[in-house]
């Protein structure tokens, strides 16, 4: 597929994301909160990683830092070898534009643009010619199965369709990896399953690296690996086959989580 042409030569043993000693502190004095207290994490190319944890465990903060949306208090984040903390704002912005795709819980589509225009938006921002941007947007929409709704505005799309459009937008720039923050959080179970299945397919067929934050155990089961955060630290790393109902809150025995 054209969307992932750049992926074909990527070696699987090169880490897409490397996190070392990541901390994030909010506020000072009485309001001081340590959201992350030293997280180490690797995400391999082509891996589908799920991050779970109770509310306040720091999983969203981890996602924000990995996506270059916020800066750590200490520690490092490397995306495809580039260290984020050393980057200026414009460089981080370019990184988000070209190397990271975002999928949000509430879709975050611009209501005044059509589905196709929403998908092509990152390319337009990057200065890609309009015709080329449209072509790539259509290809991305075909991949996710919403090309027939290209001309519709978000207001006339169902929740599942909107999330698919959001996924297409995330994929259109051939990102190094895709960050999904509770992608099924605003969908019913049927639509949620469809979206997770789509992410799985994209990962399998196109070796797209995906890091997904979720509360949904069923969604987490489709991942290659599950990382649980608790109180700002990685609680354990284990393969999804060991996950049972409610296991996100009850840590299983630790194993070597990198395989």
């Amino acid at each position: 597929m054209t969307v992932h042409a750049e992926m074909s030569g990527t070696p699987t043993d090169v880490g897409a994301v490397e996190v070392r000693g990541l901390t994030k502190v909010f506020g000072t004095g009485d309001t001081r909160v340590e959201a992350l207290r030293g997280v180490d994490l690797d995400v391999r190319t082509g891996e589908f990683l799920a991050v779970m944890g109770p509310s306040g465990s720091g999983k969203s903060t981890l996602l924000h830092l990995v996506g270059g949306l916020d800066r750590p208090t200490s520690g490092t984040v490397r995306v495809a070898g580039d260290e984020l903390s050393a980057m200026e704002d414009d460089d981080l912005t370019l990184l988000r534009r070209r190397r990271i795709g975002f999928v949000f819980q509430f879709f975050n589509l611009l209501p005044i643009l059509s589905a196709a225009e929403n998908v092509s938006l990152p390319l337009i921002i990057d200065g890609v010619r309009e015709s080329e941007a449209t072509r790539r947007a259509v290809a991305a929409m075909e991949l996710v199965g919403v090309a027939h709704r290209a001309g519709h505005r978000p207001g006339s799309l169902s929740g599942g369709e909107q999330q698919r459009v959001a996924i297409a937008r995330a994929l259109v720039t051939d990102p190094v990896f895709l960050l999904a923050d509770e992608p099924t959080g605003n969908l019913d179970s049927t639509m949620g399953d469809q979206v997770i299945a789509l992410l799985r397919r994209v990962c399998d067929e196109h070796r797209q690296t995906i890091m997904m934050v979720t509360h949904d155990a069923r969604a987490a089961e489709t991942a290659d690996r599950l990382v649980t955060l608790r109180d700002g630290l990685v609680a354990d790393r284990y393969a999804p086959s060991a996950t049972t109902e409610g296991a996100a809150d009850t840590p299983p025995p630790p194993t070597d989580g990198l395989t």
């Binding site: 969203s60 975002f102 975050n108 611009l110 337009i124």
Partner: protein
């Protein structure tokens, strides 16, 4: 899709806000263009008119006082080097008494044999003057007249029609010989110019063989100024050289203070417009924070987001400019019409030059860009995290905290400048930028006073507004920036209303006081209503005064003559009138003891208009140099007086003193007082005389109506401007309340869920509007009164003529009432929307 498409769709998505922003630009551009066009039209209108009448003559010789002199001087002037032709003429005012009414006309007595060297006459129908006609004309035959065709048509005249003219020799009948095309000398004052043979003009105006003008045509290649100097040296005492257009200089001076006022108005409109745009764009950035954060998350740089907003500003700037230019042309028609009424003259078709339109074209987008700069920068600083968590984070907040203090500093500097204006150390021309700066500074500093004013207002209104009011003020307090912006919009409206209104009303009151003191009489007899710009009037026969005095019921008859003269090298108007030791001084004295001033006037001394005294630096006891028919002469200044004639460049002189030193015949107006209880008797006699001789008779009440009509025209323009500013302010409030309500949707849902009725929700919204209004009133009134004071003192310094400063309580209270009313009206739609929210949807609103 290009980012431009995003821009246009965003503008269409919020039509109300787009219209509001456009309005801000339109107001600013229209104000600048209309004032500029009207000022340039009026400013040079009179000079251009007189220059056109002068034809090819670039110089003319007139007497000091513009009386008659021996026409043989023309022959001697033709021997001066550089003079191609020196052609004698008569140029006088008359009244044309037609079926359609009485019209002031300029009568040009021209030498048919030689005037072709000066002027061309394009005769459309009828015939031109016969160059070989006998001179002087036969006394019994009506003099032939050439007049402009359009003017003739308007008067119901055609070739061969009789024309009744009123001049200082009385009423005379003439006949239309020919009709002229509307060009050259015939364009004067909308065609209100008649050409008669010189001899007939001399007869009409009782001048014997004298003329009052010699037109000088400069030879090709000769320098005008060199020729002027040579001609001056060849002239006998009592004559001077001037350009034909300089007859319009007095009008320019009369207009000066009006133009200054208009420039202040246009400056304030610009500030108001810019602020409205700033308000609208800040609202827009606030509402689109999430979208802008999303763009940042998707990889738009700060610069790209900033440019997006600036693109929107440019689009609106371009569109608003186009609309503003059109509106400006329309407003300039209205403004020019108002100036025409004020000056009592027919101003020409609008004088359009490129300048106002170039300024407007730059100003519109410029205003939009300047006003959008900070919102655009703020938009660029929106953090990407907002796209995810809806957190109102924004980096770089220090800049915002500094702004109020910068505003305070700017206000302080401008206040200091205003004090300099008052003390005369700063020129009046800096007034407009100073007031603009003051207004901008105050608006920037508003956040410093919002919190205490909000608390005070909450305390004041709590008993009236109850729990809804408490909730309303909490919301106002929660969004300090937004509250400050909206308060700022209303503040600007109140300041404009109070300052401009107070200033203008003070001037109107002062003018009325002046008229009451100086215009004394029960009846006024004149040829036509005077042209206030140049004070040209139709001179009435001097023996008419005696005839009026002999009428039953007549107590006193005072003649008054306006004589153009030169004092201290300036064009002035000498007001010649009789003074008597047994009557109070008919003046609004500024300096000088009334008894001593009266005695001085009877002793050949003069009284200067306060403006003239200020501009020449002369005071009581000083000597002023006047050009008389005997040359320069000095007169002692007995006092100075408030005077609105010729913008204050006036000199009062006793009638016989003026007769002795200045050459004039006739009176411009007779002020007639009746004996007690005999007003009606006198009126009957005067009406008979008026019917016989054709002069204009006015009662004091009719005269006051005329003056009030002129003043009301100017006031009407002001009230329209103030109304516009208030209307736009109301749109700003609608904007704010809508934003507040959007943000409070969940809270409103909650309040409805816990049993607040729809009526209570409406009351809460209205309470917010009232709160915003009340917060803006105090600073608006204080600053408005302050600016009014500075305007008053500044214009007094600029004109040399003090105007008493009074706070107009009705105006201040009226502005309060209007501002509150506007606020409540503006709350209507947001209140309706809030009250109509569906509870479940509102509770789930994100």
């Amino acid at each position: 899709m290009r980012m431009w498409a995003y821009t246009f769709r965003e503008l269409r998505r919020r039509p109300g806000r787009t219209v509001l922003t456009l309005l801000g630009i339109v107001i600013g551009v229209a104000a600048v263009v209309s004032v500029s066009v009207a000022s340039s039209t009026a400013g040079t209108a009179f000079q251009d008119m007189f220059a056109a009448v002068g034809g090819r003559a670039s110089l003319e010789v007139v007497a000091q006082g513009q009386g008659g002199f021996d026409g043989s001087v023309a022959a001697s002037l033709e021997t001066v080097s550089g003079v191609k032709a020196a052609v004698p003429a008569v140029q006088e005012q008359a009244a044309l008494l037609g079926d359609t009414g009485r019209v002031a006309v300029l009568v040009m007595g021209v030498d048919p044999a030689r005037d072709g060297l000066v002027r061309d006459f394009a005769v459309q129908s009828g015939a031109a003057f016969d160059a070989g006609a006998p001179s002087p004309a036969a006394p019994d035959s009506p003099p032939p007249v050439l007049m402009e065709a359009g003017f003739a048509r308007a008067q119901g005249l055609e070739v061969g029609s009789p024309v009744r003219l009123l001049t200082r020799s009385g009423s005379t009948e003439a006949v239309v010989r020919g009709l002229l095309a509307h060009r050259g000398a015939a364009i004067f004052n909308g065609g209100a110019v008649l050409f008669v043979p010189l001899a007939d003009a001399q007869h009409l105006f009782d001048m014997g063989s004298n003329v009052n003008t010699v037109a000088i045509v400069v030879a090709d290649g000769a320098e005008r100024d060199t020729v002027r100097t040579a001609v001056e040296q060849a002239l006998p005492a009592g004559l001077k050289v001037q350009t034909p257009g300089s007859r319009g200089d007095l009008a320019e001076m009369s207009l000066a203070s009006t133009q200054l006022g208009l420039s202040v108005v246009s400056g304030l409109s610009l500030v108001a417009g810019g602020f409205i745009i700033l308000n609208a764009f800040l609202m827009s950035v606030g509402e689109r924070r999430r979208q802008l954060a999303l763009l940042r998350a998707l990889g738009a740089t700060r610069r790209q987001v900033t440019r997006l907003l600036l693109h929107e500003a440019l689009v609106l700037g371009g569109l608003g400019t186009a609309l503003g230019l059109v509106a400006g042309v329309g407003a300039s028609v209205v403004l020019t019409g108002t100036l025409s009424t004020l000056l009592g003259a027919h101003l020409p078709v609008l004088q359009f030059s490129a300048r106002p339109f170039v300024i407007g074209a730059v100003l519109g987008p410029g205003l939009a860009l300047v006003a959008t700069y900070f919102p655009a920068r703020r938009a660029g600083r929106v953090t990407p995290l907002e796209g995810l968590v809806g957190d109102a984070q924004e980096s770089g907040g220090d800049g915002r905290r500094i702004v109020p203090y910068v505003g305070l500093a700017l206000t302080a500097v401008c206040v200091a400048g205003g004090i300099g204006l008052v003390t005369g150390t700063i020129r009046p021309s800096y007034g407009s930028p100073l007031f603009m700066g003051m207004l901008v500074g105050c608006v920037m500093a508003i956040p410093l006073v919002v919190a205490p004013l909000s608390r005070a207002s909450a305390w004041l209104l709590a008993p009236l507004l109850g729990v809804e009011g408490r909730l309303a003020f909490r919301q106002i307090d929660r969004h300090r920036s937004r509250t400050s912006l909206t308060v700022g919009v209303l503040f600007v409206a109140v300041v404009v209303a109070v300052s401009m209104g107070n200033s203008l009303l003070a001037n109107v009151q002062d003018t009325a006081d002046w008229y009451r003191r100086t215009v004394v009489g029960d009846f006024f007899v004149r040829g036509v209503m005077p042209d206030i710009g140049t004070n040209r009037a139709v001179a009435l026969p001097e023996n008419l005064g005696a005839e009026i005095a002999a009428l039953p019921g007549a107590d006193r008859v005072d003649a008054l003559r306006f004589i153009p003269a030169t004092a201290e090298g300036r064009q002035v108007v000498v007001l010649a009138r009789p003074f008597s030791a047994d009557r109070p001084l008919p003046m609004d004295l500024y300096r000088g003891d009334p008894e001593k001033v009266l005695a001085g006037l009877l002793r050949d001394e003069v009284v200067l208009g306060a403006g003239l005294a200020f501009r020449t630096g002369l005071g009581v006891g000083d000597m002023v140099t006047l050009q008389t028919r005997e040359g320069s002469r000095q007169f002692r200044v007995a006092g100075t007086t408030t005077e609105y004639t010729a913008g204050g460049d006036a000199v009062y002189m006793a009638w016989d003193v003026a007769k002795r030193y200045l050459d004039f015949e006739g009176a411009d107006v007779y002020m007639v007082s009746a004996k007690p209880g005999q007003v009606d008797t006198l009126a009957a006699g005067l009406r008979t005389l008026a019917a016989r001789d054709g002069f204009l008779l006015q009662t004091m009440d009719e005269f006051k109506v005329f003056i009030d009509g002129m003043i009301n025209g100017v006031l009407g323009f002001l009230w329209v401007l103030i109304a516009m500013v208030f209307v736009v302010a109301s749109l700003g409030i609608v904007n704010t309340l809508t934003m507040n309500m959007l943000e409070q949707t969940r809270e409103v849902g909650l309040l409805r869920a816990v049993a607040m009725t729809r009526g209570q929700v409406r009351k809460m919204v209205v309470a917010q509007a009232v709160g915003l209004g009340v917060i803006s009133l105090a600073p608006g009134a204080v600053v408005g009164i302050g600016i009014a004071y500075l305007l008053n003192k500044g214009s007094s310094v600029g004109s040399g003529q003090p105007v008493d400063f009074h706070v107009q309580p009705v105006l201040v209270v009226g502005s309060f009432v209007v501002a509150l009313g506007i606020a409540v009206l503006a709350a209507y739609l947001p209140a309706r929307r809030a009250a109509g929210l569906r509870i479940v949807e509102a509770l789930q609103y994100e």
